[in-house]
């Protein structure tokens, strides 16, 4: 036995015999639970896999009803067609979406946080008036026509502002942020002030660095909201060159009403391909950030 080995700390090794024995009922439950979860996962995944398969299947095979989880007559022609058709319009919509998502998310984070922060300071008397006004907007809106007239009269129709501004601040997310800010220790801010920081300095140099979890979550929430939104585009972006990809997708999925005399549906493989391309970034990113989604809902929800 070497010296080194002698000096090694003693780590007790768990004796398998000492483990709590799982009851038969628990084992049966685990088996059933696993089977049910596999089933639920399969049911959830099936439509998406079907969609992916359809996007690689030829139009003729789809017309003939030959679609399943394995693509028939595998081809990437549909992808080439969707990306290149009408002067690469799909790419244009895609870039628009990326731009709206980035600008919108940054703007939303900035404005939501500078609104939520003072709201978290209960000693500010203005909050007694401000908070009810903000919460009021969660329950009552101005109405579609009034909002539309406002956007048009502000000259925002057919602009990026028309798409982003109406959802720049989400009351619900502001309240989540406010709750988080409220949970930060007051003493740290007071210490900052003692060291010579003004209110804005405390916010930027103490509160924001401590709020990374909520900022990450809000980034995610806002980004997904901008990425998926098509309704504002429908209302305020009449110019097709400014459409986000979600609205383009909406128009081709809905296609024609069969009762229209000259109706023709957009081919199923084109629809599937556009859907896959649109959700791809979200699907790629989601596995890495899903924990924030779950945590996000609880952040700031518990106050000590």
């Amino acid at each position: 036995m070497s010296v080194n080995e002698e000096n090694k700390p003693h780590i007790p090794v768990a004796n398998p015999k000492n483990r709590i024995k799982e009851s038969t009922g628990y084992k049966v439950f685990t088996v059933f639970n696993t089977i049910i979860m596999i089933f639920v996962a399969a049911v959830t995944l099936y439509p998406f896999l079907y969609l992916v398969s359809q996007s690689f299947t030829s139009e003729q095979a789809i017309i003939a009803g030959h679609t399943g989880l394995i693509p028939k007559d595998f081809s990437i022609d549909t992808y080439v067609y969707v990306i290149t058709r009408n002067d690469h319009e799909f790419l244009r919509y895609y870039l628009n979406t990326i731009l709206y998502t980035v600008v919108g998310t940054v703007g939303s984070l900035f404005f939501s946080s500078i609104l939520a922060y003072p709201m978290s300071k209960t000693h500010l008397r203005i909050n007694k008036i401000l908070s009810p006004f903000i919460i009021f907007t969660m329950y009552f809106g101005g109405g579609l026509i009034a909002n539309y007239i406002l956007i048009v009269n502000l000259g925002l129709k057919n602009t990026m502002g028309g798409f982003i501004l109406p959802m720049l601040i989400s009351t619900y997310y502001v309240i989540l942020m406010r709750s988080f800010f409220m949970s930060l220790p007051k003493e740290l801010e007071e210490a900052g002030e003692m060291d010579g920081l003004n209110k804005f300095g405390v916010f930027l140099k103490i509160s924001i660095p401590l709020s990374k979890p909520i900022m990450a979550t809000m980034t995610l929430f806002y980004a997904v909201m901008y990425w998926n939104n098509w309704f504002n585009a429908m209302l305020y972006l009449q110019d097709k060159n400014k459409w986000p990809v979600a609205y383009f997708l909406q128009t081709i999925i809905r296609g024609a009403s069969a009762s229209e005399a000259d109706a023709q549906q957009v081919s199923a493989n084109i629809k599937s391909c556009a859907m896959v391309l649109t959700v791809l970034p979200i699907i790629c990113v989601y596995p890495f950030i899903q924990k924030y989604y779950v945590q996000g809902m609880m952040l700031g929800g518990v106050k000590e």
Partner: protein
């Protein structure tokens, strides 16, 4: 202190609400209660003469409208996602060609066709409407707002419109869109006659082999005859191993949840028409004019309706019609027909050529024969439920009248008249430029020139897409123009098989008499809708149960009628009687 603040806040809110209501009254008063009743003349005396004074534009019957100075009008445009508008349409396509001929630049405000009505409603209600508003099926929502011009006051200035109206005696048809104040607000697409659109296509090659002589049979056949024919076809298909005894050979499209909207869609719509009842797509509010009794009746509780239900159910009971027809999506139905698993399927004029193209790709040229059947007879020889010779139409925004003044407004109307009612514009918007995109042969038939195709006109592309589609490329043959027209105009793009079907329908079947115009006030409209919405939902639910065999027509008919009674169908009948008598 707190109480005072609360009170002040409450008063402030109340005042702002009152202010809001007051602001809403700025709109023009509703025209429906107007006392200046006008009637629709059988012939319109035209004021459209070129000699009235020196005008800054050229117009007239047989003339191309042409403004002396470059002029711009705004127009809404319903942009179909299956042939989306591209910039080229404006720079060298349809809009440029219109501008070249008329000196009128159309400033297009386009919206996706699926959101078109929502978006233009928003624009109109917000006071931001374009001057010309095409593709309007139902103008009810706009009439009371005062944002739309009662166009009947101005039609005398439109030479092409009045000529068509007078030549084909459309006054009674126009009465069906006339409001309680005796005016109408939409320039409808007008048709010389009704050409049947929806029917069924069959695999004639299979039917022939099964020993069914459909060409002879269809002249006088009933739904019962069709059922017997389909039984023979099925027996043949089973014998040949094309399907099994348990399989259905009719699995229809345009009837499922999406297309049929829970009503049974096209199948029950056309079948109901032959029994002179509203059903499927044509259910509307169920009210139908009975010429014999000279009154409006709620057709879903009539004896004819019961017969129609029994006839429809017989196809399901016999194992011919797949009950999933009423829930499945359209792609499932077409796939089964294209594969030869089914032998009959719904079709319309424009889709026939497209379906044939898909079948050529699927089965190969010459491997099948499709045939559009004349609809079987129900209790009548009718093949349509709507005898009105009208199509969707164009509204004109009141803003145009305000902005342009009366003279400018009339000038614009004369441009609209040329664009939507002249033969020249009809051909331009449908076929493109003569000599460039199409040519007319010695017999007067139009053909696209070599190198061009158009899915909207039934000219398919080659398998490797070597032809240029005049619709995709330049916007011709789009759905915003060429509504209606003469029979010759409406037929000029039909493929021979469809043209043949249309002629057989005209020869063997009848059109029901035109119902008298019903012009409810806005209040009455509201009441009609309040009763009809839950009532029709109830009817549709029962109808699908009866047809698919979940309910028994004979045993449960009284129960069904009672359920309609509970939902006040008699109230609807009384309302109609009131309006009609007035």
């Amino acid at each position: 202190m707190k109480k005072t603040v609360t009170r002040l806040t409450s008063i402030g809110l109340a005042l702002s609400m009152i202010g809001g209501f007051t602001a809403c009254t700025g709109q023009q008063s509703a025209p429906t209660e107007s006392t200046s009743m006008t009637t629709i003349p059988s012939q319109i005396e035209t004021s459209a003469t070129t000699t009235e004074k020196e005008l800054p534009y050229k117009f007239g019957l047989g003339e191309t409208f042409h403004a002396n100075e470059p002029t711009t009008y705004t127009m809404f445009f319903s942009d179909a996602s299956w042939y989306p508008m591209i910039d080229k349409w404006k720079t060298e396509g349809i809009f440029k060609e219109i501008e070249n001929r008329t000196n009128v630049h159309l400033d297009i405000k386009s919206y996706d066709s699926g959101d078109y009505m929502n978006n233009i409603t928003l624009d109109i209600n917000a006071g931001k409407s374009a001057y010309i508003i095409p593709k309007i099926y139902d103008d009810t929502a706009f009439v009371d707002g005062g944002a739309i011009v009662p166009i009947s006051d101005y039609v005398q200035y439109m030479p092409y419109y009045t000529d068509f109206y007078n030549k084909y005696n459309l006054s009674k048809d126009i009465q069906t869109i006339t409001r309680a104040n005796g005016k109408y607000y939409k320039l409808p697409g007008m048709k010389e006659g009704n050409l049947i659109n929806y029917t069924f296509m069959i695999r004639k090659d299979i039917w022939d082999k099964a020993g069914v002589d459909v060409v002879e049979l269809e002249k006088t056949w009933t739904w019962g005859d069709l059922l017997e024919a389909l039984k023979k076809v099925k027996a043949y298909m089973v014998e040949q191993g094309m399907c099994k005894e348990k399989d259905y050979i009719w699995s229809d499209l345009w009837c499922g949840n999406e297309s049929g909207k829970g009503s049974g869609g096209n199948l029950l719509g056309v079948m109901g028409a032959t029994y002179d009842v509203n059903a499927g797509w044509n259910i509307g509010n169920g009210m139908r004019y009975n010429p014999a009794a000279d009154e409006f009746q709620f057709s879903p509780v009539s004896d004819n309706f019961k017969e129609f239900l029994k006839a429809a159910n017989a196809f399901v009971e016999a194992g011919i019609l797949d009950p999933e027809t009423f829930t499945q999506d359209d792609a499932t139905a077409t796939a089964q027909y294209f594969n030869g698993k089914t032998a009959i399927m719904s079709v319309n004029q424009s889709q026939f050529a497209s379906f044939e193209g898909d079948m050529v790709k699927q089965l190969g040229e010459g491997k099948f024969e499709n045939y559009c059947i004349t609809l079987p007879m129900g209790s009548t020889k009718n093949s349509t439920v709507s005898p009105e010779r009208l199509e969707n139409g164009v509204m004109i925004a009141d803003q145009a009248l305000k902005d342009l003044g009366e003279d400018g407004f009339i000038e614009m109307l004369r441009f609209v008249d040329w664009l939507f009612y002249s033969h020249e514009a009809y051909e331009l918007t449908k076929w493109g430029v003569e000599g460039v995109h199409y040519e007319v042969d010695a017999d007067g038939y139009k053909h696209l020139k070599e190198g061009f195709c158009c899915s909207g006109l039934g000219y398919g592309n080659t398998p490797d897409n070597t032809l240029t589609d005049i619709r995709f490329e330049w916007g011709y043959a789009g759905g915003n123009f060429w509504y209606g027209g003469t029979i010759a105009e409406m037929e000029d793009n039909l493929v021979p098989k469809v043209q043949d079907y249309v002629h057989r329908d005209l020869e063997y079947r009848e059109v029901p008499p035109l119902a008298p115009g019903i012009a409810p006030t806005s209040d009455q409209y509201e009441k009609i809708n309040l009763i009809a919405t839950p009532l029709i939902s109830n009817v549709n639910t029962w109808v699908l149960k009866f047809v698919t065999g979940q309910a028994d027509v004979e045993k449960q008919w009284d129960e069904y009628v009672a359920s309609c009674e509970e939902l006040n169908y008699k109230g609807l009948v009384d309302l109609y009687a009131q309006i009609y008598q007035k």
